[in-house]
Symmetry: D3
Subunit: 237 residues, 6 copies
Amino acid sequence: MTRPDGRANDELRPTKITCGVQAFPEGSVLIETGMTRVLCAVSVEDNVPRFLRGSGQGWVTAEYAMLPRSTLTRTPRERTPRGRTQEIQRLIGRSLRAAVDLEQLGERTFTVDCDVLQADAGTRTAAITGSYVALHLAIAALVDEKQLPELPILSAIAATSVGIVDGEVLLDLCYEEDADADADFNIVMTAEGEFVEVQGTAEGIPYSRGALDNVLSAAEDGIRQLIAIQQDAIASA
Amino acid sequence: MTRPDGRANDELRPTKITCGVQAFPEGSVLIETGMTRVLCAVSVEDNVPRFLRGSGQGWVTAEYAMLPRSTLTRTPRERTPRGRTQEIQRLIGRSLRAAVDLEQLGERTFTVDCDVLQADAGTRTAAITGSYVALHLAIAALVDEKQLPELPILSAIAATSVGIVDGEVLLDLCYEEDADADADFNIVMTAEGEFVEVQGTAEGIPYSRGALDNVLSAAEDGIRQLIAIQQDAIASA
Amino acid sequence: MTRPDGRANDELRPTKITCGVQAFPEGSVLIETGMTRVLCAVSVEDNVPRFLRGSGQGWVTAEYAMLPRSTLTRTPRERTPRGRTQEIQRLIGRSLRAAVDLEQLGERTFTVDCDVLQADAGTRTAAITGSYVALHLAIAALVDEKQLPELPILSAIAATSVGIVDGEVLLDLCYEEDADADADFNIVMTAEGEFVEVQGTAEGIPYSRGALDNVLSAAEDGIRQLIAIQQDAIASA
Amino acid sequence: MTRPDGRANDELRPTKITCGVQAFPEGSVLIETGMTRVLCAVSVEDNVPRFLRGSGQGWVTAEYAMLPRSTLTRTPRERTPRGRTQEIQRLIGRSLRAAVDLEQLGERTFTVDCDVLQADAGTRTAAITGSYVALHLAIAALVDEKQLPELPILSAIAATSVGIVDGEVLLDLCYEEDADADADFNIVMTAEGEFVEVQGTAEGIPYSRGALDNVLSAAEDGIRQLIAIQQDAIASA
Amino acid sequence: MTRPDGRANDELRPTKITCGVQAFPEGSVLIETGMTRVLCAVSVEDNVPRFLRGSGQGWVTAEYAMLPRSTLTRTPRERTPRGRTQEIQRLIGRSLRAAVDLEQLGERTFTVDCDVLQADAGTRTAAITGSYVALHLAIAALVDEKQLPELPILSAIAATSVGIVDGEVLLDLCYEEDADADADFNIVMTAEGEFVEVQGTAEGIPYSRGALDNVLSAAEDGIRQLIAIQQDAIASA
Amino acid sequence: MTRPDGRANDELRPTKITCGVQAFPEGSVLIETGMTRVLCAVSVEDNVPRFLRGSGQGWVTAEYAMLPRSTLTRTPRERTPRGRTQEIQRLIGRSLRAAVDLEQLGERTFTVDCDVLQADAGTRTAAITGSYVALHLAIAALVDEKQLPELPILSAIAATSVGIVDGEVLLDLCYEEDADADADFNIVMTAEGEFVEVQGTAEGIPYSRGALDNVLSAAEDGIRQLIAIQQDAIASA
């Protein structure tokens, strides 16, 4: 089987992270993965949700939306975020909270807006990978401004998708592959190689434990490369 | 470490499935797992969502709600289902669709209402385990009425939760354990031991690949027992 | 004319009230009237609506909902309560407030959730009759815990429906009768035989003052029996 | 006890019905009862709600709203009609449907808009009394235009309120009395003296059967006078 | 070209402003312009929107709505104000704020409710012209009650519409003309002849600068007459 | 007075239009005006709103939204478009419809999504200027594909803002100037120099007819330059 864009089964799409693409956010990043493009912008506010007030602790939350024509045909704007959107928002927020030491953030909320400019599958994992960089920039700026004594980051995190298509394990699916997948995985890992999130859904055909093992190995390799790309982007920012 | 209810780490809570608890649904079941109680009711309608019209294919969808006082303190009714609710509904529906041959169902929609009467953790996995039985009853009734030639079921499915608490892998968490878990897993499997869904979230501490292996093994054991309870319930219905 | 279930015109359906059916509410009751089944759960909170703050006075309010498949065919969940639902909620709340001395309750809100598990007519009157018992249990618990000096109950209340069907006055209509009624009455009374609420609607044929007199007499008899059933339930709780 | 405006206990407020106050509706009326003023406008459309399509039968429905400053202090506009508004709308519609022979109306919907310009209690009963006239005008116009062979009206209807205040039965409460009432009744009757609707709510003190008898007698007298005012208005239109 | 109602091109429709038409508002006015009729009611509250709290400054805001049968055929009530309604509300509020010295109003909000009883074009400009009078009455009452030292009014304002129909400039369009207009203008001016708002939209055919000049001259003449009618109404109130 | 960015009073900000910035829309453009950046994407569908079905005529409509962090501080996403947003959407749609011959478009809807990536005032006029180009590209593509016989464009249109600040007329306000303006104008013109829309609002100080004349002259000059930039962008696409 040949992949539509000629990649090897364990090969990521070309991925590029550009920092500082917007003038106003405290941290902003454009991540491009193949044709997928997501703008990640971090806003910092000096207050926290009600359940954290007085705790001294910070919070990280995320919103995710697609421009109407990020997709092949036009997708109407969502007034109330649909189930899929809410799942993605919750996943991004949860993943980013695993990367930072909330107790060291102070009573601040970091809101990460992930706006998909162009969608060719893998938007949620690109959003996580890009958002980590934008969040790092925003927090580092607080350290630079002496508002935080040191960088309260526990570990870098990044994410990728893996699919089982016709029995083969493919890393970082594009849209065409995604539509055909028997099972679909989104995996978030730390730079230390531990799992923050594993989500694996059989779209058509249940998968064996052996297949799951291969999926996890492919994800580990891909995420290691993504974390290197993140580090380069942060270093050159 | 001793579990609050004295169970072994790999022991399910007492689980009971009672069929036919409501007069009107095509299939109905009360599932009790420890203190958790979920009513699962299947309604059959002779039409399908727009995207399936004319396809000859059927559909299975699920709704999930909690009675306001199923919880320790009162939870207001949701007007628009929140993110958590939508995720659960989508998970239940997806899991049930993996259990049946949609193409053999005819243009019918099976709506499964999962109403939580009492919540002590594990409501979504109890809902899946109970709903499979209610769905089986509703489909079997169609076969009895000669509306379907044979039972279009691919495999029984059941679900359980597993947690990592203080480094130990615990099967089928109760509320008290759930609140303390470092990582939380919901796993859906077939009677053949293949995975339909694996969802594993690090709530606080990322988990290693070795820990994940132990979690999967615990889930396999638990789900095997649940499938036996399902078969008994169906046999005696 | 024979009634569908063979009852005499002035005969209630078999009615049973079971206390303590849920683990968490301050008071909970399952009321069964013929095939109608309503779960009534009382939650107590230590605050009151804005218009009562600082008054020293308490409040009682009610919510009413039907499980989607409590009905013969599936009824979609209501996001915004419809007119009928709102009328019923207001009726239940108003009736219960007539039973208690709000000034002696302290600044507490008692929220009564009436969830219909199965509907065969008379759900709103069953909800009132059952909710009174659940409310009594919740208030008595506060007295037991010395949070209230004595039981601030003015009078027991109960409710039933009466219909005029083909010119005959029938007590406690079932669904089949309800659909045919020329006029439909819901009546709430105290243990002392006074009226809290009389609602009589001509669905098709206006009714004379003489017919109304007969309806009221039938309701009085029925409610006297319901109050005895309530007292037994409370005594054995 | 003297009433605030010096009326006898069984005396209506001065009531005036003016026909044709708006240029566009098929029937329109301004009803003034004391300081209460309600505009009633009937719109006729050549279709019916889904459940009546193909039945040959017509429908009458009502909407009720208050101008923000119809009240002593400003009441915000309702986006979603509140419970009270929905109850009133349902009451008006039901009452008007009792006045006409729906089967003779043809597949037409008569929508009655009752807009309260000024509110001094009794707005819902004024709306019913006024709307009957507006509906009569709209139907009579169809007869004039030979779209209907004869007037499909079963009986005139009118409505009034009665209250029990300090143990006395008072006809047609004004706002000041309404706020003090122990029990509050809205009664809709036909020209023949039969009841279409009796709604009696104890706001504070339950009422005896004897008191209810006195209330009904007062209502009968008041409604007889209102029906004469309706007839004069129709005759001079 | 003859206008439908025989007016000269630069002639206003007969316009009448009646003060004090409602009992409860602090200022109320009925404005009639041809067949168009708008009720304008001002409510004063002793607080201001959040962004003005503590500023010592007041605020003026407006709501606009049409009775369902103000129009030729019935227009359903708007739950969420549509775009057109929001534009009109914003225009009325902005125009009135230009008329008063907000800093001298104290921390009070003046809410102007403009309810269209009958619509024959020009409802938004009639609403502005009428609302100015109602607002003047409400503010003058505060001066009379010594709550304000002097009348904080900068200038009277009034508004009219102008259209270009078949190349001719017509003042104060009625519905029939409005539907045919190539371009449509709403203009708000002060008593001193300066512009508060100019809105000119080409509905079909773009307009030249020369045409715009003629439109502005026609508006100036009309508004001068409207301001005289306002002054008479205020003087005789 | 010197402008914040040193421009002459009648000088536009540097403006750049880049075509084809998104892969999927039928026409797409990024317009940059100073720091303001708007993405304009056109989607073509083969159907029209209900009121045009069967007319053979096409439709152009627009949506406008701001990314949450397009602004200096974060602006929450709008679920229901606010009044300002609705006004802008209506203005863009109306302006674009003036540019094309709807009758020659066939029964197609052109939806223009204007998403503001960065906001430094003038976003609505930039959206109009950019959208015209994107619409031109989408229509020209239909001509290229022989789906339309010839380009059904009546005239190019473009828009700019003008303000009166401290008595001076300034072309193309940036945010800092916009916040200080006494009066604010948005003007849409054709390539032939006729007006499609003039909107002039006195934010604080009413303006004279002479001032309005100067504003219109400044706008004419600016729009002439913008139309040249549009033509270059189209030519090089």
